[in-house]
Symmetry: C2
């Protein structure tokens, strides 16, 4: 398999992306092709003494602030558009970009295409606590119909069964109460459809506060609620980390205490840091496309490559294609 | 003013509720009336040596697992129904319950009633970081119309201007992106209405990750998204606290370090603990009704009383009535 990487996407492009690719080759034995400004990438690879990475030249870059759909239609020689096209229909390759989520989604829809039968691809966010937990959709579809939830459930189940040794993942519906009667009209209808689908192991409604407990392996929701869930968690983690730092610097005794506990705490923190796990797969598109975090550094890129390999080896795309 | 307290609601009722009421009388000089089983409350007050608290006897209790609307219609002699009726139309009294949110909401709607002109009352959750931040609706209305958001914005503004020295609170719309074009169809329409209402200081969309930064004083959203926001934050805080505990107990050195930093960390943590601030006001009902956290202890009850006093002294109910 080849992992194609958009060298021009993300806050730290291209250098951290290139360095991440180099680590992935050296530490994971991955086969990588970088897409982007040929001269710039070539020089950096030379500096790093790395000869095992191919380059596909591109002349355009999609900016974070451009209108996604307009940009991807116009900039056909951008690293993102080229990458999304290269993995179309491939069960063996993958494409990673740390560029704009909206643009990558539009590119994936236009140039990678949807798996036949999929109504709406979804952004799947992964949490890795004691086990992987997939939450989808996380922002691809702000407005959903009840039947999308069933496809999200199937895609999430295919994903978890592909990347872990869990053949029948438990599926929960994100909701504002655990009881069956809870939620908006949309969620009540979605609940009904999920409950009646024997191809998935539906366990019912899951409150947002219970997601991290691991009660379900796959959490389905509309893209609006999923994005609120994800970013609320992010905000809360950030607030807690800032509070921790303030506590550590409070006085000489706390500074000493901090020295003793810091390493353990930061190791734990990595469990909820998206950088540790690389990226969010777009499920339902006809190829393996991964969105890496916008501020990905070399480590995050290497971890995204690792995740791309796991997805491909786990035959996630084939599983989804068969499941639908 | 009198603060009426449902002595029978919540996981720790009635004893922690009674103890909280006693502290509120002694430490805050509050005037409290407890509603519930007369004999039981009387004995506990006697044990505590407290003679300054009145009791209104009630013979029924609404259980956490009852259907809210059915229960409140049937159990007219429950502590909750009595309390909600007592504050109807009063600008000077308040009612606090730690019982079921759904039942309290149904009781408030039926027995306290709505302020004239209010389409849908909302549950307002407070965060107290450097300043108070109000997030509403948090679950009263799972399905919203765009115009509800404008009323939420006005009620939240009235609340913040009443309880703090901020005469013109900034209002943000919870959304999945900061740009004006972001969100579901409902949120795009709500954005348009909020933008065109000069009576509030609307600053635009606010992502869930930015709420705790204090970019806005009032965050408006539908009850579904608000509940996801709130509970996702709760889940993330809990996960972080568990991670912290695991880190502290990792080895003898971390245990020593923990001893040195723990006090500071727990003090900070209180800033995001709902118990520290007592309760969530129901805005839009025709009386001051506060939902205290289900597992409220005496401290939480005392703090809810403090909050009820602040709300009443800040003339929040009058402000909302005038604003609408």
């Amino acid at each position: 398999m080849t992992v194609f990487i958009d060298a021009m996407g993300g806050d730290n492009a291209p250098f951290e992306i290139i360095r991440g690719a180099v680590s992935a080759v050296r530490e994971l034995g991955a086969k990588i092709t970088l897409i982007g400004e040929e001269k710039l990438i070539g020089e950096e690879l030379k500096k790093q003494g790395e000869q095992g990475i191919d380059i596909i030249p591109s002349t355009q870059t999609i900016d974070m602030h451009e209108d996604p759909v307009m940009a991807v239609r116009k900039k056909k020689d951008s690293s993102m558009v080229i990458g999304a096209g290269l993995v179309k229909g491939s069960f063996s390759d993958a494409f990673i970009s740390a560029g704009s989520t909206g643009a990558l989604l539009a590119t994936a829809l236009l140039y990678t295409g949807r798996i036949k039968g999929i109504q709406r691809p979804a952004i799947c966010t992964m949490f890795h606590l004691d086990k992987p937990i997939a939450v989808l959709d996380n922002g691809a579809n702000a407005d959903c119909k009840p039947e999308y939830f069933v496809q999200f459930a199937k895609m999430g189940s295919a994903y978890i069964s592909g990347v872990s040794d869990n053949p029948r993942p438990k599926v929960g519906l994100l909701n504002i109460g655990a009881e069956e009667s809870k939620g908006s009209a949309l969620y009540k209808e979605a609940h009904e459809l999920l409950k009646n689908d024997d191809s998935i192991d539906f366990i019912g409604n899951v409150e947002a506060s219970a997601v991290f407990s691991g009660i379900a392996d796959v959490i389905v929701c509309d893209g609006f609620a999923g994005n609120i869930f994800l970013k609320a968690s992010e905000g809360a983690f950030k607030l807690m980390m800032n509070m921790l730092k303030d506590s550590f610097y409070a006085n000489p005794l706390t500074k000493l205490g901090a020295l003793l506990v810091k390493k353990q705490i930061y190791a734990k923190k990595d469990m909820v840091d998206p950088k540790t796990y690389g990226g969010s797969p777009f499920l339902g598109v006809n190829g393996t496309v991964l969105k890496a975090h916008g501020n990905s550094d070399a480590l995050a890129v290497k971890n995204a490559v690792k995740q791309a390999i796991t997805i491909t080896e786990g035959k996630v795309l084939e599983k989804i294609t068969q499941f639908i």
